[in-house]
């Protein structure tokens, strides 16, 4: 039992022998490499945002266009979706009925879509205040950074739909399990990017 200690939830693929375990770890390591290169893209957009922050050319400033309420709500929703995805991967690891796994994945999907809806509503409000990407260097860098995260969440939602369909059609075979684990890493990673986003973009902009 100690072999599964500290392993990713779900690492016991259909036959929990050493070779399958090792193959899963290799597959997930490859996905980690992708995630870290994605993190570099985000980090450089963060750096651009930091440099562009004073470049408002008399237009809207962070303090006038950000709202703390929606940002907090979006944070809570994304955090909860990470938790529900965690419950889905635990259910998958312990061969819970498909119904329960699909339920937790469905809950994650609903939360992801709610997050996207709130974020789009934020952008519409900003556009109505004249805060468009064309207005200033600050807003260009904002709209390069924050919607890129939203785009990742949208891709994650699409991937969730695909994985739910695969669970229904193929059942929980080895490939479906590995891909669900990858999706889990992706989803939790997006949550970590969001921590940086709300700290550096929203909270920094709202500090007075």
């Amino acid at each position: 039992m100690s072999a599964t200690e500290g392993a990713h939830p779900g690492l016991n693929i259909a036959h929990p022998h050493a070779q399958a375990q090792e193959e899963t770890e290799t597959a997930l390591f490859g996905f980690w490499v992708f995630l870290m290169s994605d993190a570099v893209i985000f980090a450089l957009l963060f750096a651009t945002y930091g440099v562009m922050l004073p470049a408002t050319v008399g237009g809207p400033t962070p303090a006038t266009v950000y709202e703390i309420g929606p940002a907090f709500l979006e944070t809570l929703i994304l955090l909860t979706s990470s938790f529900t995805f965690g419950l889905a991967s635990i259910a998958m690891k312990h061969d819970a009925p498909c119904r329960r796994i699909l339920g937790w994945m469905g809950a994650t999907l609903v939360l992801g879509l709610a997050f996207l809806a709130l974020e789009v509503r934020d952008f519409i409000t900003m556009f109505a205040q004249g805060a468009t990407p064309m207005r200033s260097g600050y807003l260009s860098s904002f709209f390069a950074l924050v919607p890129l995260h939203g785009l990742h969440v949208a891709a994650g939602c699409l991937w969730l739909v695909v994985m739910m369909a695969q669970v229904v059609v193929f059942g929980l075979d080895g490939r479906v399990r590995i891909n669900t684990l990858r999706l889990g890493l992706f989803w939790h990673f997006l949550d970590i990017i969001w921590i940086a986003l709300f700290s550096v973009v929203y909270l920094q902009g709202l500090i007075r």
Binding site: L44, F46, G50, V51, F83, I207
Partner: protein
């Protein structure tokens, strides 16, 4: 079967701990800004500090990156990427703010 059930319960507990810690840290960060507990610079420092702690919490409880042997390769990859990111971001900020200063 019972040990599997105990495993599942332990894992759910681990995720729940991570979730609670993340909620607390998020709440503190937003609260510090909302109620203006300190001066602007100090508040920004607090927010960044809480954000870093929350990232570690997410890596530990959601992504299962521990100091144990099973995730050693992942941990090394993450630490190396963090080094690269720190170099590129701080380098960008130092050079461009310095340039900005000189152009004034």
């Amino acid at each position: 079967m019972t040990s599997s059930k105990a495993d599942a319960a332990r894992e759910v507990r681990s995720y729940a701990i991570g979730y609670l810690l993340a909620l607390l840290l998020t709440g503190f960060a937003f609260g510090a800004v909302y109620w203006r507990v300190a001066s602007a610079t100090t508040t920004f420092g607090i927010v960044l500090g809480l954000g870093l702690v929350q990232m570690v919490v997410h890596f530990r409880f959601f992504l299962h990156i521990t100091l144990g042997k099973s995730s050693r390769a992942d941990l090394q990859l993450i630490l190396f990427s963090t080094l690269i990111i720190a170099l590129m971001v701080s380098g960008t900020l130092v050079i461009l703010f310095n340039l900005h200063h000189r152009m004034m």
